[in-house]
Symmetry: C2
Subunit: 113 residues, 2 copies
């Protein structure tokens, strides 16, 4: 089932997309205003620093990550989260294998092209 | 530290707000466009059916929940999620104690008054 407009999101029904470099992604659901994405990292996997106009809030579902936001870094672990304002540079380095839940507003058109 | 604009969100530094009925809430972070909220449910805890203009996407961090969206119900468990379009009625009944991560766009003014 397509992710767009999916109301009940059953993890086991969604296939991983392999992003390379020890990262895998599932687009869980989205509408025009919002998108939920699950990303699994192997230890050492890197979310290369980047920025985008979308506001992002992320939840650390499991594992541990060194998160960089602007010029600050912090280790965050399962149960923690982070907030990326629009157009602020950010990146992640996975210190212990785990999963991030990324939410964006508005949705990421570039993820569904 | 206030939740507004918090970029690195450390779970252990945030106090629970007791909502009664076996529910507790932490406001993790927010800006005008988005808010992240963590809610812990005891088994049997109920999120009474309601609706709001905000788009909501929720992630089931742990436990199991019977989620109602409009006139449909489904059991969702750790790793799953759900999407509530603007102004659609929804509710939750906790079947196994656990935690939901709720994201809203725009932020919930009513949670910080």
């Amino acid at each position: 089932m397509e992710a767009k407009g999916k109301q009940f999101i059953v993890d086991s029904e969604i296939s991983w997309q392999d992003l390379g470099g020890g990262l895998k992604r599932k687009i869980m659901s989205y509408d025009d205003t919002m998108m939920m994405v699950k990303i699994e990292f192997e230890k050492g996997g890197i979310g290369t620093p980047h920025k985008h106009v979308h506001t992002q809030m992320s939840y650390v579902e499991s594992g541990a990550f060194e998160i960089t936001i602007g010029d600050r870094k912090q280790i965050l672990k399962a149960g923690d989260g982070y907030y990326i304002p629009s157009n602020v540079m950010h990146g992640a380095v996975c210190k212990e294998a785990g999963v991030l839940i990324d939410m964006f507003t508005p949705m990421r058109e570039d993820f569904v092209k």
